[in-house]
Amino acid sequence: MKRVSYKETWVDKLYIPAVLKGLIVTLKHLIRPHKNITIQYPEYKWKPYSHYRGAHRLNKDEQGRIKCVACEMCASACPAHCITIVPAPAPWEDRERYPIKFEINMLRCIYCGFCEEACPEESIELTEVYDFAGNSRRELIWDKEKLLEMYDLTVNEYYKGKPGTFSYSKEKKEK
């Protein structure tokens, strides 16, 4: 093995050049802050990539009805057991059952996306929405109405801009 050794010269032993070099490195960052790293969150929002797994939604069909047929495939696929479905006979011709109650506990969910994969009707889907919060645990158990509402919110893009970037979105805050 070849050993490489560096002989300290007397200039190195003074330490002052090294100290100045260090100061210049930090000075460069100081006068040219790389602002893109910090996102000023509520005003600017990050647009996730298309494979991002965020909050759920329940899709609607062309007639605006819920797509779900209450087969409970998602509930049995869910590793966190956070989907509760109460089926009922459907009032429509084209299917037998539909859910009268559909709840997802957003606090227990691990956002694995298995429900989306299991669903035969492409009814349940994970959206890109990541900034939701609630004042109580009860508030974060999303029911059918909330999940259908999420469909209306996210059917067009929810965050603006190109995936992986962030853009100004003040009006999104008001929603």
Binding site: I16, G22, L23, T26, L30, P33, H34, I37, T38, Q40
Partner: protein, 349 residues
């Protein structure tokens, strides 16, 4: 009698203005520290309270005042209570002898722009500044906690070691000036070399300057010498057990110390309030005076920011490195500096 009262009012006004200015400086140092560290680390720092975060110091102050004031059960109550004051008072006292301008002429009255023109100014600074260590030692000891005790023990050893280098490095400056009076130290620096380079001590005593500023980092317990409060080893160092405004006082006195150290560096090595070149342009006396005060403030601010800049650049020394640097490097160099200065002085004058 009337004269005496006017004198008294002027002095009290001067004290009020200087202390007020230092306190404002301290408040905004805390903000500058946080924002500049943010920029250096490619973050933004606190920028939400007021425009660009300018109200952040007041938000912090209000928060600290309203926090629960908790004293540990095993603490030595009296000492625990007065220790923060014992560090805060000396930190402010040092500024009293520093001249921040020449003299103002208002209504035919000469107002000296310094609180006290003590003829042993530099000795006074060292004497008072080293009193600050009692606040740290007593605060750490009275809290009855092993980490705080470690912090304060380190602080004592560090202060004593670096005070030697600090004191000896100033000797060179004193030999050139021939006076301990800070007014005269500034006065001597007001001439020019070759008619255009300001006669500042930095050009005559660069070695002393480097030793002085490094020792000042150690004396104010700032990184890279902040072993006193090394978070990674000692929780919070000597003020681990402190909270609310008592902790706030420690925090403020650290910044007050930085500002006074910067003011001393400015006075000793960078001509104090001397404003080179511009002072030769004819202008009304009062404008020149104000500009000179401005130049003093600017220089002090630069060094205060330099303290922050250094803190976010260098890692902390190990304790043995700190000690060997102080005793084996700075002390001999400082003594050598004194000898060389004396030799030059003997030959050239």
């Amino acid at each position: 009698m009337v004269d005496l009262i006017i004198e008294l009012v002027i002095i009290i006004l001067k004290i009020g203005i200087v202390i007020g200015a230092v306190m404002m400086g301290v408040a905004y140092m805390t903000l500058a520290e946080r924002r500049l560290s943010g920029f250096i680390q490619d973050r933004l720092g606190p920028n939400r309270a007021g425009p660009q975060g300018l109200l952040q110091p007041f938000a912090d102050g209000i928060k600290l005042f309203f926090k629960e004031d908790f004293i540990p059960d095993s603490a030595e109550k009296l000492l625990f209570f007065i220790a923060p004051g014992m560090i805060f008072v000396p930190a402010l006292c040092v500024i009293a002898v520093i001249p921040f301008g020449d003299s103002l002429n208002i209504f035919g009255r000469e107002i000296q722009l310094r609180i006290a023109d003590v003829n042993i100014g530099i000795l006074y600074i060292f004497a008072i500044a080293s009193l600050g260590v009692y606040g740290i030692v007593l605060g750490g000891w009275s809290a009855n906690n092993k980490y705080t005790l470690f912090g304060s023990l380190r602080s004592v050893a560090q202060m004593i070691s670096y005070e030697l280098a600090l004191g000896l490095s100033v000797m060179g400056v004193l030999m050139i000036t021939g006076s301990l009076r800070l007014t005269e130290v500034v006065e001597v620096q007001r001439s020019y070399f070759f008619g255009f380079i300001p006669h500042w001590n930095i050009f005559l005593q660069p070695v002393a300057f480097i030793i002085f500023i490094t020792a000042a980092f150690a004396e104010t317990n700032r990184l890279p010498f902040d072993l006193v409060e090394a978070e990674q080893e000692l929780v919070g160092g000597y003020h681990t057990e402190y909270n609310s405004m008592k902790w706030g006082l420690y925090f403020l006195s650290e910044y007050a110390n930085v500002i006074t150290a910067s003011a001393v560096i400015t006075t000793l090595f960078f001509g104090g309030w001397h404003l080179p070149w511009i002072e030769k342009i004819p202008m009304p006396q009062i404008l020149l005076e104000l500009l000179q005060i401005g130049s003093f403030v600017l220089k002090t601010a630069f060094f205060s920011i330099f303290f922050i800049w250094v803190r976010w650049t260098f890692p902390r020394f190990k304790y043995n490195q700190l000690m060997s640097l102080g005793w084996k490097v700075f002390l001999p160099i400082a003594i050598l500096n004194v000898l060389v200065t004396g030799l030059f002085y003997a030959i050239f004058s």
